[in-house]
């Protein structure tokens, strides 16, 4: 099963990571790579844009969006046997990064499961 893990936080509260945090994150990335479960990962830029469509009309709004939580920090695409395993990896991630929230969502279509 494939899962997308990402963090959702108030961007204002999102301080730049310390060197210690980066080192810990590096270790976790290495651990997940060595466990053969990490398919892709990346950091996300600080600002975003939103593209909305309504009644056939598309509008574009540039961030930051301080009124709502948004996808910040980074993401990881992992392939594990159960959802609980994805949760366990997310816990290990949260222990490193401190306060905040991560979201885990299953990604369909990644595997060839009939």
């Amino acid at each position: 099963m494939r899962f997308l893990l990402y963090t959702v936080d108030d961007p204002a509260a999102n301080a730049p990571p310390s060197p210690e945090l980066l080192a810990e994150m590096g270790k976790l990335v290495e651990e997940t790579t060595r466990a053969g479960i990490l398919l892709a990962t990346g950091g996300l830029g600080p600002t975003s844009a939103r593209v909305r469509s309504s009644a056939g009309k598309v509008t574009v709004t540039d961030g930051p969006f301080t009124e709502t939580k948004e996808l910040t920090g980074g993401f990881a695409l992992i392939e594990v046997k159960t959802k609980d395993e994805a949760i366990e990896w997310a816990k290990r991630f949260r222990k490193i990064v401190g306060d905040g929230e991560s979201v885990i969502q299953e990604v369909f279509g990644g595997d060839g499961r009939p």
């Binding site: 053969g36 392939e79 159960t82 395993e85 595997d111 060839g112 499961r113 009939p114």
Partner: protein, 420 residues
């Protein structure tokens, strides 16, 4: 709350089990005993964690607990067999090692995992036993999961694993990474086991237990782990490249009714771009290590030719022919020759391809191989020789064991009869 903890324990267990067994095997030098000790640690976790909560470093906790159990067991054995001086000395040595290891816990078990892969795929075991033991100890699958994936009763797999562990103990197989000349053949056994698991999953059809298709993911995970443990071995990267690229087509190769969709007819938009990128990167690593490509890397390079082509027309067929030439020299087989002939037909026209395929019709090992008449039928159809093509497709249909493939071939035969 307790249900949550149990699920958390289950997840921790899946993640940590192979590392536990690997680390413990180094200490007690017996996979069977190592697995028992790991199970003891699991029982302890199930008893304690619901009350105490999951520890901060669950892997280290499990390893430390299992090592304490190891020492307890060794002490008990020593008391029972005090007269056996040899065993006593053996015990002291082991105890020293165990105590020394306690602090390092799970810090680095990479080498142990690699050793565990080598003994799980040891030539003293049958191929079936290697597969079962590897899935159990390194894939972390339960015997029930393995049994479901391989469509055999659970006790069969359980027995296979028990016997395999006994064989390893009886043969006194050392827990080490083979060196020198032995390394190549032992590594090829590991690669073969992983690829067998992959193909078992890849051949799963709609309606099968999803555990079967899950074998592809298990094989990919094992391959990725191995690539981290043995990064200097080009064929390890070759195998992982081959599997990633093949797996990228999983969705596209089955139609909405479960029917077979051939490579050139597949919707390439359905190919998994993440896996293709990973596969191409792994192939680049194999190539960067230098030297001539091995059989897995060559097959991966062929698969990569398809993966790189955005449309079938963009396929670099002459390069595929050249890669099959290299493969035929390295691992000569009539099946490789047949694939080469088909690629040759794509590169230089159906008449040229047919000439090569015809040369293979006398090959005894291909006499019942359905792909030969099927390939011949395809070339004949392209040359407008419909009646001969129809006969070949019907012959191919009578030879295949796979019901979906048979349907597909009969449909092609019918299309020829229709004057297509």
């Amino acid at each position: 709350m307790t249900a949550d903890t149990h699920r958390a324990i289950d997840a921790v267990w899946r993640i940590e089990f192979p590392r536990l067994v690997a680390g413990l095997t180094r200490i007690v030098r017996d996979v069977g005993l190592a697995e028992d000790l790991a199970q003891d640690a699991l029982v302890a976790a199930l008893e304690q964690w619901p009350e105490s909560g999951v520890p901060d470093k669950p892997g280290a906790w499990l390893m430390a607990t299992a090592k304490h159990r190891a020492i307890d067991r060794l002490r008990r054995n020593e008391r029972l067999e005090r007269k056996h001086e040899q065993l006593g000395r053996d015990f002291e040595l082991r105890q020293e090692m165990a105590v020394a290891d306690l602090d390092t816990a799970t810090d680095d078990v990479g080498d142990d995992l690699l050793r565990l892969m080598f003994i799980s795929c040891h030539p003293a075991l049958s191929t079936e036993a290697r597969v079962a033991l590897t899935l159990r100890l390194l894939g972390g699958l339960t015997t029930d999961e393995i049994a479901r994936a391989y469509l055999v009763p659970e006790p069969t797999i359980a027995q296979r694993i028990v016997r395999a562990k006994r064989t390893l103990t009886a043969a006194r197989v050392p827990f080490e990474v083979p060196q020198g000349a032995e390394l190549a053949s032992r590594l090829s056994s590991v690669l073969q086991v992983i690829y067998l698991v992959f193909n078992e999953g890849y051949s799963a059809t709609a309606g099968d237990d999803w555990m079967r298709a899950g074998l592809c993911e298990d094989a990919l995970r094992l391959g990725r782990i191995l690539a981290e443990l043995a990064p200097k071995e080009p064929e390890v990267h070759g195998l992982i490249a081959l599997m990633e690229i093949q797996a990228s087509r999983s969705r596209a190769r089955v139609g909405p009714l479960g029917e077979v969709v051939l490579l050139l007819d597949q919707d390439r938009g359905q190919w998994d771009a993440v896996l293709i990128q990973r596969g191409l990167a792994a192939l680049a690593r194999a190539e960067a290590l230098g030297g001539a490509l091995g059989p897995y890397a060559l097959q991966a390079a062929i698969a990569a030719c398809h993966a790189r082509a955005r449309t079938p027309a963009e396929t670099d067929w002459p390069r595929i022919v050249a890669l099959y030439d290299a493969l035929a020299q390295l691992a000569p087989s009539p099946v490789v020759e047949l694939n080469r002939a088909v690629a040759y037909g794509m590169a230089f026209g159906p008449a040229a391809g047919l000439e090569l395929v015809d040369a293979l019709t006398a090959e005894p090992s291909l006499r019942t191989y359905h792909f030969l008449p099927s390939a011949r039928g395809d070339l004949l159809a392209k040359l407008g020789r419909s009646e001969e093509a129809r006969a070949e497709f019907e012959r191919a249909a009578s030879l295949t064991q796979n019901a979906r493939e048979r349907e597909f071939l009969l449909a092609r035969a019918a299309a020829c009869a229709g004057g297509a």
